[in-house]
Amino acid sequence: MKQSLLWIEENIPLARDVFRMRLTGDVSGVERPGQFVNLRLEGRFLRRPISVFDRAEDGITLIYKAVGEGTRQLARMTEGEALDALTGLGNGYDLSRAGDSPLLLGGGVGVPPLYWLAKELRGAGKPVCAVLGFGSREDVFAEEEFRALGCDTRVTTVDGSYGRKGFVTDAMPESCSYFYTCGPEPMLRAVWAKTVSEGEFSLEERMGCGFGACMGCTVRTKSGPKRICKDGPVLRKEEILWEE
């Protein structure tokens, strides 16, 4: 973990309620795809966790959805303003397990952490299939970016207004060497039930600290209690115990 002051270079709307924010500054703490940053906001006591969409030498890109007070406040911030960020949080995805035909399954604002991962996997010369699921046409983002990396990119919308109608699980290939997924819990449960290969899931929990100190985010797993912020957010398929 590192605490850094990051400068907003760009904060623009991408899709319905979805924004892209470019931040520059010391991002040396950001090590792996699947990690997140925890942003301090004026007037909000708890920080807001957001995944790293992409990382460059001098900065990172985030994609976030304005869903509540904190993220709406983030959306109102402008170029030149600074954000106090804890960076390099979480374990991140394990790239060594990708195999020769990795599959990425992202739903809504679960898509962002998969982009940097796709970039790394493509950089390692692997063919990557990315299935991106959204509610409706207005919600779609990042499709072009995945295509530009040369991924076999498939888009689904629940209402069928764009791409294929249905859920990501309706558009995924029959087989893959390994999968990586992030998205809303109902989607993750469907992925868990419908995938045959091994893979890993990025999960969300409400957080007190984001760096392992408060036990606010602990879930039961087959390998014992795990803090989503520190031992996660990425868990392997075989460790996950869905509650209820």
């Binding site: 973990m1 590192k2 605490q3 301090r40 909000r44 006591f45 708890l46 920080r47 804890l86 929990e205 409400r206 957080m207 007190g208 600290c209 760096f211 392992g212 100190a213 408060c214 036990m215 606010g216 985010c217 602990t218 879930v219 039961r220 209690p225 520190k230 509650e243």
Partner: protein, 316 residues
């Protein structure tokens, strides 16, 4: 700014000496102590600063058996604070002694405060007896905000007789200073503190969290899976300060004040209410460098209010 008046003043004590306080017979370099449950066993913070600058810290509430705690969501936000329903997740005293304390020793070289919870008198006594043998444990901080499983679920911390019984049970198994940590969810906090003092407590710390809850407007359901939790953070500061004031006027033993502290000024205010030292909780979660910043800011804040030595403030 005449040099003449300056020469007349007594020499200003070194910053290091100005911050020193004595907590139940042990010197602390400064009165700043991260509060239990917000600092784990120190490791996460040792990654980003040298935690040896702290007075000491109180480690995660430890029970005899391992505890998973409550289901998630365990955390909710509120204006100027937070609500937690972690439910005392900890690996149990055995693993704390076997794994956490040896790791802690690598990064922290001062006596540490052991925070203990229990659900029966025997459990408190057994856990404290085990921690009593650990050389690095300098103080036992006994959290009595837990329900007594033999007492119809009533919290030890809301009944002066039960609080006294816990104090006696723990005092009987240790020679280390025993600090009773009080729950604020009572009508007469001074009565609770007095009961602990009379039963032999060496110190009092307060406040633990205040009971509270939030409801999610979208789902119309409570945010926390446990429905209710404990409120902490800046929003509780005035309540905490009032209770520390009342307790300091009721007992003679040292009092550690906490609840909402997030700045050097808050530390001074809490000590003016009579606290000997302070604990800092939720602020560590929002800002992992909070305690370092507070310690660094203290000398200048003291200068602003004409305080030469911090121990000249209210404490014993």
């Amino acid at each position: 700014m005449g040099g003449v008046t300056r020469e007349k003043e007594a020499p200003r004590p070194a910053d290091a000496d100005r911050l020193r306080v004595n907590l139940c017979g042990t010197e602390l370099d400064n009165p700043v102590i991260p509060a239990s449950g917000t600092f784990g066993f120190g490791l996460e913070f040792a990654e980003i600063y040298d935690i040896n600058i702290l007075g000491t810290f109180s480690f995660k509430g430890t029970t005899r058996e391992p505890r998973f705690g409550n289901p998630t969501p365990r955390i909710a936000e509120c204006p100027a604070g937070m609500i937690n329903a972690v439910g005392l997740q900890n690996p149990g005293v055995g693993q704390v002694i076997r794994e956490e304390l040896p790791r802690l020793k690598q990064v922290f070289h001062k006596p540490v405060m052991a925070n203990v919870s229990g659900f029966s008198l025997e459990e408190y006594a057994e856990t404290c007896a085990l921690l009593d043998r650990e050389p690095q444990v300098g103080w036992l901080e006994v959290n009595i905000s837990c329900p007594n499983v033999h007492g119809g679920g009533m919290s030890f911390g809301t009944d002066p007789k039960q609080a006294a019984a816990v104090t006696r049970a723990v005092k009987a198994v240790t020679r280390k200073p025993v600090i009773l940590k009080l729950s604020p969810n009572v009508t007469d906090i001074a009565e609770m503190a007095l009961a602990c003092e009379e039963a032999g407590a060496d110190g009092i710390s307060l406040i633990n969290t205040l009971q509270g809850m939030r409801i999610d407007l979208k789902t119309r359901k409570p945010v926390l899976a446990n429905l209710m939790g404990g409120v902490s953070g800046p929003c509780v500061f005035p309540v905490a300060l009032r209770m520390v004031w009342q307790v300091c006027r009721a007992v003679r033993i040292p009092v550690i004040g906490m609840g909402g502290i997030s700045s050097a000024e808050d530390v001074l205010e809490m000590m003016m209410a009579g606290a000997t030292a302070v604990e800092v909780g939720a602020a560590n979660l929002r800002d992992p460098l909070a305690c370092r910043r507070i310690i660094e800011d203290l000398p200048a804040a003291m200068d602003r209010y004409g305080i030469r030595n911090i121990r000249e403030l209210g404490g014993h």
